[in-house]
């Protein structure tokens, strides 16, 4: 069957393709987990692009409520209008604000819905969306109408594992864990993003990158997105390859490391290790 495949800009492993196609075929949500920076959010963009569907993004924060994805009843403005004697006040539907899922449900074409970082929200958040994601319908109490999805949207949910998700919720999803890409895949990813990068630079940079990832005790290992940022910087600065390969004792830290190491403990740790290896 035709379906989601790696694109020129996004390298998807075969297992990811199967998971996405299963989710599309059965119209069930796909839950994607993985290290930060391995392309969980980008995946939804790519699926939307590949299938030619519009993308609706719902970014979840710690204060997000499930209800906000469906609709909100703006009681305060109705109250204000009521006190001012506005005519609109008689129709309650004037004060129903549609949420992202409502938009997706009533859309004329099938949509891709991204529920980003679901684990940021309250622990009950996924449970509150069970029925809505399963049946793709919900009831609006204020106007006594039921919103039913015209086309079941393709739902992509990402999680950073900050909270355990409830079993009942997991049962209804397909699951995929994005593994950190190996060197071969990483080379392909770099190629798709920067097709005109100098080959020697890319190779050296990847070597340095995987070496840094192997440093024990790093608080935040650099991931794909950091690598891409760093490469971009290297390309802009147009550094000679020698700068990366340098055995010069004064240059222990790779140039522009700020893109790779994101906290000062890690930089210190790295400096210390580099210092030790230089002495030894």
């Amino acid at each position: 069957m035709s379906g989601f495949k790696s694109t020129e800009r996004y390298i998807a492993s075969r297992d990811l393709e199967v998971a996405v196609n299963a989710a599309v075929a059965l119209e069930r949500p796909l839950l994607v987990k993985g290290e930060p920076g391995t392309g969980k959010t980008v995946l939804a963009h790519e699926i939307a692009e590949a299938l030619g569907h519009p993308l609706i993004e719902w970014h979840v924060k710690s204060t997000t409520k499930a209800q906000q994805g469906l609709y909100e009843y703006d009681a305060v403005s109705r109250l204000r209008d009521g006190q001012l004697g506005d005519e609109r006040v008689r129709d309650i539907s004037n004060y129903i604000v549609r949420g992202k899922l409502w938009d997706a449900f009533v859309s004329g074409v099938q949509t891709v819905v991204l529920i980003d970082e679901i684990d940021k929200a309250d622990i009950e958040f996924p449970n509150d969306l069970l029925l809505e994601l399963d049946r793709m319908r919900f009831f609006v109490y204020e106007t006594r109408e039921t919103v039913v999805a015209k086309h079941r949207p393709i739902v992509i949910i990402t999680s950073n594992n900050e909270k355990e998700l409830p079993d009942a919720f997991l049962r209804r999803c397909f699951f995929h864990y994005i593994r950190f890409p190996d060197r071969e895949t990483m080379e392909a990813i770099v190629q798709t993003h920067y097709p005109d990068i100098r080959q020697d630079l890319a190779r050296e940079a990847l070597t340095v990158f995987f070496k840094i990832r192997e440093v024990p005790g790093l608080k935040k290992k650099p991931a794909t997105s950091e690598l891409l940022d760093w490469l971009k910087l290297l390309m802009i600065e147009d550094l000679p390859v020698e700068a990366l390969r340098s055995k010069d004792p004064h240059v222990v830290i790779p140039p522009l490391h700020g893109a790779l190491l994101k906290n000062e403990q890690d930089v210190h740790l790295f400096e210390r290790l580099a210092f030790l290896s230089r002495r030894g």
């Binding site: 069957m1 297992d15 059965l26 006190q83 900050e162 079993d167 397909f174 699951f175």
Partner: protein, 392 residues
């Protein structure tokens, strides 16, 4: 037809259910897997596994159940050229390990024995100490503990097809119930949260606003309340030095997580068991002691007391006056522990030693008794259980 597979998964501890089984069937019917064994494996994984910690277990069960289903294109292990094995051995063994092999008769002998075994053995093998297989201590096979072992089926290999996808067991590292990190500990500690409203009123109190607006003949009268904050109070007692040295890292992580998570956190150090004094700074512990009595006076029973230590010491250090290894104590450790646990009604002990080792140390059983069994292993699961217990 895959019902037995789902049952095998369930008996391996994976929470697969009928819903998932039906989903898998539906996906098969929709042609997602497309007659490819690899795709079928990926599809099963996406359908039946919902947590990356279970991926490794899933791979193992899949290998068991669908043994023999894989296409014959993979190189049979019996046909591995000797050259290749040698290369693998050289690639994966450190010089010290190579030395050990030399002691055992050299690589040549090892290879000869391997060939003999291959001739003798038929089929896949798991565990044990002789056959070529996985997880054992035999020198041959994968994931074993024998330092002079030859790994078969574990490395990536020149030819990717030589190893089946599920046999690569790439998710081994994730299958670990003690995968602790500051962030995870914080989440576990979060269960201890208790909310209360304190401070400046910043949130709209809707019920109150409606009531006062009604009283006000319909004109808006806004009422505000303070935001909810975590008000749990935690007192941490950390064992330091001696046998605790090997657990320093995990204790550090626990400590930094606790510091970030609780506003009201106080901590004290002790050694082995708590006696009449504790201290706050380790460097100046001899002249900067806090009497335990003072701790109990200062911090009320509303504090939750958490003791962190391996509780491994001589039983006398708990039961007898004067048992302390560092100083003369007039009253035994048990007396002080009783005092503390009866003052801090919500208390628990976190032990970095694995739970199955607890029965082997008398001092651990003694302290467990004092704490009425509220001793938990210092793992995520243990912290979780502790939080539940402390919140009762």
């Amino acid at each position: 037809m895959f019902a037995s597979f789902v049952l095998a998964l369930r008996s391996a501890g994976l929470p697969a259910s009928v819903t998932e089984y039906l989903t898998l069937m539906g996906a098969m019917k929709a042609g997602v897997a497309d007659y490819s064994i690899d795709d079928f494996y990926y599809l099963c994984r996406a359908t039946l596994v919902k947590d990356e910690r279970h991926l490794d277990r899933f791979d193992r069960v899949f290998g068991e159940v669908f043994k023999g289903l894989e296409p014959p294109e993979g190189i049979a292990i019996q046909n591995l050229p000797e050259e290749w094995l040698k290369k693998v051995a050289e690639k994966f063994l450190t010089p010290e390990e190579m030395d050990k092999i030399e002691k055992l008769g050299g690589l040549e002998a090892l290879m000869k024995r391997l060939q003999e075994l291959m001739a003798e053995q038929k089929g896949r093998h798991q565990g044990g100490s002789k056959w070529i297989g996985t997880g054992g201590t035999s020198p041959f096979g994968a994931y074993g503990a024998n330092p002079e072992g030859v790994r078969i089926g574990q490395q990536e290999g020149r030819n990717r097809r030589a190893i089946k996808v599920w046999d690569r067991r790439e998710f081994k590292d994730l299958d670990d119930s003690v995968e602790l990190g500051t962030r995870n500990i914080k989440l576990a500690l979060r269960r201890l949260r208790r909310f209360a409203r304190q401070g400046a009123p910043t949130e709209l109190d809707i019920p109150e606003t409606i009531r006062t607006t009604a009283n006000n003949a319909g004109y808006l009268d806004l009422k505000m309340v303070p935001e909810r904050h975590n008000t749990v109070k935690v007192l941490l007692f950390l064992d330091i030095g001696g046998s605790m040295d090997e657990h320093v890292r995990i204790c550090e992580e626990l400590f930094s997580a606790a510091r970030g998570e609780f506003k009201h956190l106080e901590y004290f150090y002790f050694h082995n068991c708590i006696y009449e004094r504790v201290w706050k700074t380790n460097r100046r512990r001899n002249d900067n002691l806090t009497p335990t009595e003072e701790v109990m006076r200062k911090y009320g029973p509303d504090y939750k007391a958490i003791f962190v230590g391996d509780a491994s010491m001589s039983p006398y250090e708990i039961s007898h006056p004067g048992g302390s290894v560092e100083h003369w104590n007039d009253e035994s450790g048990a007396v002080w522990m009783h005092r503390l646990t009866s003052h801090f009604r919500r208390s628990a002990w976190l032990n970095p030693r694995p739970k199955n080792a607890w029965d082997h140390a008398m001092s651990i059983s003694m302290l467990r008794k004092v704490l009425e069994n509220r001793m938990f292993p210092l793992t995520l699961g243990g912290i979780d259980e502790m939080a539940k217990e402390l919140n009762r």
